[in-house]
Structures are given as structure tokens and as C-alpha cells.
């Protein structure tokens, strides 16, 4: 016997003493509570970074807990690295991740269906086919929905002409096709929303990756980024990186320079700003206002903001008992809406649920996040943060961005780290890199 078995109580104690992360790294598992029935039934809705992670880690912590993951897609295509696909640096197929490992290695039951409704009193989830699943604990990780119509003129139909491509899949392909069909000398316009939204550095990486494509294929083209904000993630690093790699191809217009778009005309590929300037695009990419995914709203865990507030220690909903919410659907500021955060939240929440089902206190949480952005081939930048709880709130304990004066070798290494990060986190989440 090369590895000592630990019992359930010891494992939970270890989780509490060390935080979930180190415990997981040690590969520890909690043996089943007792022969016979499950130690509890958990239903997870949504198979992205948050949902797949929480499903897997509940089973790792306690294989006796019955875990069912509800996810309509056979493969999840990630938003992270979809910008690199648009830039020609990554294959679309490599963004897709299936659920085979969750099923075969961890014993998660995966149901490919859509969750239609939640009965919090009866503790069931109803699926699109009409069948219901019972749960002792429910985890919702539905990601975002677009607030259709919130930005005037930006409807589902408009998105077929002016894609958002903020949920990877057909929208990403549509935007790629439009870029490929665009004339040299055209104008690519990206409309960026006000906070909060999925992937804070995403719009700024996206224009860089579009510039990378245009630079080699349509070098006379221009990029206009119209922003509803004056401050954005890694701002100095992006502005510097755009200039170094693409000269004056990318123009960013912040809110105080009349950058906020208030109306979209997708038929004409025109946008109108707050003070009445009209801009005409060759390709129009609108990153629209967002809110928590449908099932979170349906379950009643969201508030007036459209996002789900959570108890900081566990990500349990303060609004609906027995329900947890993780990932982009939550209001967990200062944690960003990122895949990395959803993954970290999934682990902490898995530990909290296993502890709760066992009737013991969960560990003190700690979450980490890194957002790498690829500005150009061999040119990466990052922001990192470590989060904990201070005075009952989630706070950033430490963090920072890449140095402003880093040399080319440093930027090159960060571009390599970005790829390594993507492989590692998709491996951790779905077991497929």
C-alpha cells in the first residue's frame, strides 16, 4: 500500500485546515459514509467550467454522493480561447470538451437535456422532456443570457447579422465567416458593454485577435472599439500591446469620448452613440448587456441586478435554501466572471456541499484567478488575483497585472503560459485538453 487511506472525518478536517485546493492536489478522497444508499443527491445544472468542476470534485471528495449533471450539449465549447480561433491561432475543434471522463472515471451521471424549472420546496428539477430529478442540494452554473433588447435594436434576429460571439458556438463561426468575407479597407466595430459582464478582458483581446487576422489578410482595414466604460481590465497593457503589434489599426473610444453605443441597426450595420454619432461597420460585433442564465432566474436566486447573490463561504443562495450558484451567473465581485473563477468556485462549493451533507463545517475558502490575454502571437499579458473572505465579504487578498515594462521574452513566455493554462484548466474541468 503506497498511499494511506484517510477516513471521511479526517478528510473533511483536512479540507478545513488546508482549504480545498491543497487537499485536491494531494489526490485525497473521502470513502463512502456507509454501505447502501447514497450520501446525498446533488443535481448540477450547466456543464461549463463551473458545473463540470463541481460535479467532478463532489465525486472526488465523496464518491458516495450521487451527482447528476444536466447539460444539453454533448460537447461544451469554451469562450476562453475562442478569440484565438478568430485570430487564426487556435483550432475551433480544440475548444470543445466532452463529458466522458466525468462519467467513466468519476461516476457522474450526465443527462443531456435542458433544465426547465426548479421546485425549491419539493427539491426537484424539471427537464425539457418533462421528467424530474430529485435533489438534496442543487448547483446552478448556467452562465449568462443576453439581455435582448436592453441595447436598443439588439435582438436575437439582429445577432444573426451583428454577432455577439460571447457564447462560443455558431455565433463564433458566424463572426469568423464575416471577417473572412470582409473587404480589405473595411471597418470592424466592436461594441463593449458596461460592467458587469462575462470575461472583462475579452473585448480587448478580441480586437487584438481580429487585428492579428486583418494584419496579414486585410491590412488596410481599421478596428473601432466603442466602449460604455472609461476604465477596463489591463487597460495600459492592452493599449501598449495594440500599438506595438498593430500600430494605429485599433482605435478605442471610451464613454467620456462618446463611446457608449445606445442603438444598433443590424440591417445597416450601423450604431449610434449616446451623443448622436453614427458609425458604419463592415463587420459589427456587439458584446451586449448580460444577466444570469435562465434557470437561475427561474429558480428565484437572482436579484434586481439580474445576477445571483451568494453566501461568500459556500456560494449557497441566500434566497433559496438548498441551492448553490457558481460561475458567471453570480454576483461575486471582486471576482471576475471568468472560466478560471467558475472552476475555483466549483471546487470550493464541492467541498462545502460534501461537508454540509456530512453535517460538518466546510473549509475556509480561498479562490484564485488568472486571466491571460493573447495580444499577438508570442505576446501575452495577464492579471491574477487571490480571493478570500474579509469581514463577511469576498475580497482580493493579493493580485496584480503583468509589468508594464516587461521585455519581449517576458511577453512571449506569457503567451506560452496562456496555452499551458488553457490545457491545464480544461484537463482539470473535463479531463480533455
Amino acid at each position: 500500500m503506497t498511499r494511506g487511506r484517510i477516513n471521511r472525518r479526517q478528510a473533511l478536517k483536512l479540507m478545513g485546515a488546508m482549504g480545498a485546493g491543497p487537499f485536491l492536489a494531494a489526490g485525497g478522497r473521502i470513502p463512502p459514509a456507509a454501505a447502501g444508499g447514497p450520501a446525498g443527491r446533488v443535481v448540477v445544472v450547466g456543464g461549463g467550467f463551473g458545473g463540470a468542476t463541481v460535479a467532478k470534485y463532489i465525486k472526488r471528495f465523496d464518491p458516495a454522493v450521487e451527482v447528476t449533471l444536466v447539460e444539453p450539449s454533448r460537447r461544451h465549447f469554451t469562450c476562453p480561447f475562442s478569440n484565438l480561433y478568430l485570430g487564426g491561432l487556435y483550432q475551433f475543434d480544440a475548444l470543445g470538451h466532452g463529458y466522458e471522463e466525468l462519467v467513466s472515471r468519476y461516476g457522474v451521471q450526465v443527462v443531456h437535456s435542458m433544465a426547465d424549472d426548479v421546485d425549491a420546496d419539493g427539491r426537484t428539477v424539471r427537464l425539457a422532456g418533462g421528467e424530474t430529478l430529485s435533489w438534496d442540494r442543487l448547483v446552478l452554473s448556467p452562465g449568462i443570457d443576453i439581455r435582448w433588447g436592453e441595447l436598443e435594436g439588439y435582438t436575437r434576429a439582429a445577432a444573426e447579422k451583428a454577432p455577439h460571439a460571447w457564447q462560443a458556438g455558431p455565433q463564433t463561426h458566424l463572426l469568423k465567416k464575416q471577417l473572412e468575407a470582409m473587404e480589405d479597407g473595411g471597418t470592424f466595430i466592436l461594441v463593449a458593454p458596461d460592467n458587469p459582464f462575462r470575461c472583462p478582458p475579452g473585448p480587448y483581446e478580441r480586437v487584438a485577435m481580429v487585428a492579428n487576422y486583418l494584419k496579414s489578410h486585410k491590412p488596410k482595414s481599421k478596428i473601432l472599439l466603442l466602449d460604455a466604460k472609461d476604465n477596463f481590465s489591463k487597460q495600459g497593457l492592452f493599449l501598449d500591446g495594440w500599438r506595438k503589434n498593430y500600430g494605429d489599426m485599433i482605435e478605442w473610444v471610451g464613454r467620456s469620448q462618446d463611446g457608449e453605443v445606445v442603438r444598433v441597426d443590424a440591417d445597416r450595420l450601423e450604431v449610434e452613440t449616446e451623443f448622436g454619432t453614427t458609425h458604419k461597420a463592415s463587420v459589427l460585433n456587439v458584446v451586449p448587456p448580460q444577466r444570469a442564465g435562465f434557470i437561475a432566474r427561474r429558480a428565484g436566486v437572482t436579484d434586481a441586478s439580474g445576477w445571483a447573490p451568494v453566501e461568500p463561504r459556500t456560494f449557497a443562495s441566500p434566497r433559496v435554501e438548498g441551492v448553490y450558484v457558481i460561475g458567471d451567473a453570480t454576483e461575486a465581485a471582486p471576482m471576475p466572471k471568468s472560466g478560471f473563477c467558475a472552476n475555483a468556485q466549483g471546487k470550493v462549493t464541492a467541498a462545502a456541499i460534501v461537508a454540509d451533507l456530512a453535517g460538518v463545517d466546510g473549509p475556509d475558502p480561498s479562490w484564485a484567478n488568472t486571466c491571460y490575454s493573447t495580444v499577438a502571437p508570442g505576446y501575452g499579458i495577464s492579471v491574477a488575483g487571490v480571493y478570500g473572505i474579509r469581514e463577511g465579504h469576498i475580497e482580493e487578498i493579493s493580485g496584480g497585472v503583468s509589468p508594464a515594462d516587461a521585455d519581449a521574452a517576458f511577453r512571449r513566455r506569457e503567451a506560452e503560459y496562456a496555452v499551458a493554462w488553457y490545457r491545464a484548466i480544461t484537463q482539470d474541468t473535463w479531463g480533455t485538453a
Binding site: 460592467n195 458587469p196 472609461d230 476604465n231 467620456s256 469620448q257 462618446d258 449616446e274 448622436g276 441586478s305
Partner: protein, 259 residues
Amino acid sequence: MYRSLAVLLSGLMLVAAPVWAGAPPWERVEAVQNVLDGETPVRGAIHLDLPLVSRDGSAVPLTVEVDSPMSEDDYVASIHLFAVSNPYPEIATIHLTPRMGQAKVATRVRLNESQRVVAVARTNTGRVYADAREVRVTVAGCLARDATYDSDTLMLARVRAPERFSAGEPGEVTTLINHPMETGLRKNGDGNLIPRRIVHRVAASVGAETVMEAELHRSVSADPYLRFFVAPVEDGTLTVRWDEEGGESAVREESLRLR
């Protein structure tokens, strides 16, 4: 008998005067007390709106609205805004007139930390209303924006009004001026204080008549932004004027046309 009467009276008072449960949230805030001047405000007719959580304390959207007919006989005369935990709590004082047609203004404010924002309104008849909101701020307002302000557009002002108005019906006007609103509290890279420089007054008029006048303080965000209503009764020109404290001015004119 006396006791039950007292209980009944206290119950009635709670219904009649919607006082704050417990102490009013600005009890020890001198700036608010100065505006209240000993009066007890009521809630209900005033609605203050800010996000529950802000990821950028340098520019937090704020909207305040008071239920009022805005007639010559009965209108909101002033709205006073405070960020009670900022180094200087005063945000702005807005003087309103019946020519606005609607007692609703919006701006963007600096919040140094998570805190309570307070709005007080006074009517021409002497009624006083107040409302308060708690805002959680995860990136402090004082940290954003580096010392290098884009001077190319300094004092560049923008105004937008609806293309057409219905006579006497309020329409919303949006204004913005590019300005750093330097608080005089920040240091530059060399450790020296950056001199205070603020736009302290924004005034809107139609002809000789004042529509709205706002006194801005240091807790207004850079690039002061103000939305307000105007209800023109005939075609005319809206003049908006911004004044820097002891410095420059900017003026913009916008046509107001009836349908």
C-alpha cells in the same frame, strides 16, 4: 388606558410619518445635517437608484427622482447628494425649476469605498424628502485613472436633446464635459499633490430663464455627466454653461424644437 392610548398614538405616528426605522442613516453626517437644518425628512416621494455592487468606484451611475407635479405652485426646488464615507461627502446640489417638467436627474459619482449614498430633496413649499442606498464598491474610486489626463479634449462639452418635443412635455437632455475633476487630494508620480481643478457649476437656460443649475463637488466623477429634463413650451435654444472654479468656461447651445 393612558398606556394603550400612547401605544395607539405611537402606532399612528409610524403610519403618518414614514420615519426611518431606528436612527436615520446619516445621523452623524454633518454635511447632510446642514442641509436638513433640523427638519425631519420623509421617505417615499424620492427614489435614489445606484447599483448594489460597483466594480469601478470612479464612475458609479446615480439617478434620483422625486414625485412632483413640477408646477409653478408645487415643485422640487433642490436635490442634494452625498457620499457619506468619501473624504468630502458632498457630491452635488441641483437647483430645479418648473421648466424641467420632471424632477429627475442622473450623474456619475466617485465612491471611495463601499458606503451609503444619500439624497435629500426640498420642495418650494418646504417639504423635505430623503432616500439612501448602500453601494458595495470593489475597486475604489480614488484608484482609477492615472495622472495623465488627455488634455486634447479638455473642456470639450457635449449636449444631446430629443429631436422634437411636445409642448410642455419633458424631454431628457444629456450633457458631458471632458474634465479631470482633480480633487486636490491625489499625488502624482513624484509624490506631489496634483492641484485641485474642478468644474463647480453647470447651468442650463432657455432664453433668460434658468432651467437647472448644479453645483458640483469633488465626488462627481471625472468628465462630469448630467442628465436632466426640460419641458419647452415653444421652439427655442437650450444653453448649457460649465464653469471651472476660478478658471475657464464652456458653452454649448442646442435647439429645442416642438413637433
